[in-house]
Amino acid sequence: MLNNTYLSVTQINSYIKAIFDAEVMLQNICVFGEVSSYNVSGGNAYFNLKDESGMIPCVLFGANKFDAPKIGDMVLVSGSMNYYAKGGRLSFNAYSIMPYGRGLLYEKFLKLKAELEERGYFDIERKKPIPDYVKRIGVVSSDTGAVIHDIINVTTRRNDCVDIVLYPVKVQGVGAEQEISAGIDFFSNYDKVDVIIVARGGGSLEDLEPFNSEVVANAVFRCKKPLVSAVGHETDFTIIDFVADLRAPTPSAAAELVVWDKALKVEKVYSEMHKIDNKFNLCIVNNTNKVLGLVEGYERDVLRLLDKFKAKIEVSTLKLQNIDNLINNKINAVDRLDFNIRKLNPQNIAKMGYSKILKGSSVVVSINDLNNDDVVGLSLIDGTIKAKVCKEKK
């Protein structure tokens, strides 16, 4: 009874293992998925394989025989599902691992890349510069899906004056490469666009295949306009990226790179205007100061001239003063002489009672000149008289 009700761990594990071992569908199969976490221990690799909805733990025996995949790589593993009773875990026991999808496609990609490089398709010298001020962009992409909307959104946000012309194409599957190359050729000869963007969203390596084709590479190589490639995600590299004049990591980034930011440029114009304005004001102020400075200089110079002239006048005045003194001295001398002369005037002497005695016309100065009864003339202040000498003894 007891044995029928309860099972031991070993019993249940053996039962589970027997079920999985008997399931042919889970033996010797190939599984593909994305590698997440990859650790090597004791010569075996332990990793998980996942896709959008789940994952399986895997063990790879003799892992050193294979190239270790990177996290995120899509791989193809061969082996069987196995129940590991000791750990009570289900895992996939792999005996081989190889890159999924890559394989042939990847080889083809490398071969074409080497060939085109040899032909000079990737030469830096032939890359055309993207114009600074693009007016119209030609976009080669699908008319459905997010890509064209992303490009329109970014473009409108940066510059509402830039037009977009879409050449709708299939971006994957049969005939896609012919359509893409026709789109590139169309814009190459269409005068109204300044630059071409070839864009596609992310996808598997197979989805991106048209952009790895020689047909598209040739169209880009012969294109006369600058061309930007924007294919897949940032990590995807396709042949078109190497031939294009510029590779953008995503379609939105392509629009960012190509479309000039109108607001930024307008701001730049105004800031330059402001600088010009400041420089001009400075020029006016400098010139005004220069003129005022010159006038100040004139005033100084003219005053100096006047001072010099004044000094000359002063010297002349001094000289004139000397002449004055000289004249005054002379006047004084003349005055003195006049005074003396006046003192000696005979009239003045006569006034004092002195009189001149004349005998005939001779002036008598001594008594010996006279004899008794000589008639002499006496000059007085108001006339002359005649007198007779009565001689006296001395």
């Binding site: 307008v266 105004y270 205007m273 304005d277 001009f280 004001n281 006016i284 010139n287 005004t288 220069k290 003129v291 005022l292 010159l294 006038v295 200089g297 004139y298 005033e299 110079d301 003219v302 001239l305 006047l306 002239f309």
Partner: protein, 68 residues
């Protein structure tokens, strides 16, 4: 005469006035010429400044209209 030419002449007058052997009549004549030129220059500078202010105001209006 252009503003620039006027200023050049003013500078010439300045160096002529610095000549120590200049006679007073000549000096006064130069001084008069210089002051007249200075007045002209200042008027002209003021005019240019006014003109620029008008242009600037135009630009401001345009900026308001275009940037909203």
């Amino acid at each position: 005469m252009k503003l620039e030419e006027k200023i050049v002449r003013m500078e010439e007058i300045s160096s002529l006035l610095e000549n120590p052997n200049l006679n007073i009549d000549e000096g006064v004549k130069l001084y008069e010429e210089g002051v007249v030129l200075a007045k002209d220059c200042l008027t002209q500078l003021q005019e240019v400044k006014g003109k620029i202010n008008i242009i600037k105001k135009d630009l401001e209006v345009y900026k308001e209209e275009t940037m909203e």
